[in-house]
Amino acid sequence: MAARNDDVRHLEAQPDFSDRERERIRKELNEQIRREGLDRAIVVAPFDAVVNWARLSSIWPMTFGLACCAIEMMATGASKFDIDRFGAGAFRATPRQADLMIVAGTVTYKMAPRVQRLFEQMPEPKYVIAMGACVLGGGPYSLHGYHVVKGVDKLVPVDVYLPGCPPRPEALLEALMRIQEKIRSERPLAGRIGAYPDALGRSVVDPRFPRTVQAAPKEAAE
């Protein structure tokens, strides 16, 4: 969705407009468009889509690398491949501020509890990319390596599996775009509008997004 306008006041959910109110807002919008010209056009979109667009355009990965895959991850962050084109260039130094964990490199049994702890410290909603053969299933250490976890999905839930040894930066960007697709398909506000009235009894949106998005109840969808 191409929302060039940063004024999203009119996109807020208002489930209980009367017809008269709706007509008044429509006239007001038309008047505003006539007054200010088409370059300040108002875009009308589902609130879910706007929220998702904001979320998928600012995925903050965690600064976190375990082995050689991390070198490719750094290359992806540098100017040649430039992960910032996708809004995911702000590598955070703390899991508290991160949305995405890129597990880049061999996970040893010694490291496994730390990886698990870092994932648990991230706020919801959070996503995990398993990058490289070692992280997917142990890679070259799967058969006779005594020290490598046979797949990081034994520790944390993985959203995107990215094979390669190590994967090229383009492949990591592809994995990031898969995460974006996943976010775009979520409905973070489903069934939430109207569920939490504020002090004046008005409907408000609950900002706490559930990790597992469930289908909206029919009453709320209608």
């Binding site: 049994y109 010694k110 496994a112 299933g137 799967s142 058969l143 046979k150 797949g151």
Partner: protein, 188 residues
């Protein structure tokens, strides 16, 4: 000084403690009785003709009937190198620590202890260096058996059916060791 000359010098000085020598291999080595490792090593470092001031590495070897502790030495002033080996019995793989002679031995001996289980007597801080502290066993030993799990993390990868063998089947897959005929049997 080449390996033969180093061996002859040592043999003169310690006639009973030098039990083997081979220069037909890539790195010539001298075998030392394990009880005499400290005086021999001290002589190698302090003798003006030898001056082995650099301990390159310590490693361990696992043979069917014995362990070996291997030391690679190099001399910067003399520009020569040699390997020293010592046989250790399987049931009690103990040897004196050379940490008082070369400080570099500290972490090398900890690593060999961690992965091979060789005990270096007199080491100031002999504990695991690579594996977690609560690791069971010494993983580079031939008779090491991987536990089924570590801290609740299973060692077996299952996707559908078992397409990775279980740890027990891994052990069976390892070929039984047979000493090659070209190498003379270890002197004892």
């Amino acid at each position: 000084m080449n390996a033969q000359e180093i061996h002859d010098l040592l043999k003169n000085r310690f006639p009973n403690d030098i039990v083997g020598y081979d220069d037909q291999v890539k790195t010539p080595f001298i075998k030392v009785r394990r009880e005499a490792i400290l005086p021999v090593m001290r002589f190698l470092r302090d003798d003006p003709a030898l001056q082995f001031d650099f301990l390159q590495l310590i490693t361990g070897l696992d043979y069917p009937d014995h362990f070996e502790s291997v030391y690679h030495l190099y001399s910067y002033p003399r520009r020569h190198a040699i390997a020293i080996k010592a046989d250790l019995p399987r049931d009690l793989p103990e040897i004196d620590s050379v940490e008082p002679i070369w400080r570099a031995a500290d972490w090398h001996e900890r690593e060999t202890f961690d992965l091979m289980g060789i005990i270096y007597k007199g080491h100031p801080d002999l504990r695991r260096i690579l594996c977690p502290e609560d690791w069971v066993g010494h993983p580079l030993r031939k008779d090491y058996r991987q536990p089924e799990e570590y801290h609740g993390i299973s060692n077996v990868r299952r996707i559908g059916d078992d397409w990775y063998p279980k740890p027990d089947e891994d052990i069976k897959a390892i070929v039984q060791y047979k000493p090659p005929k070209s190498v003379p049997p270890a002197a004892s």
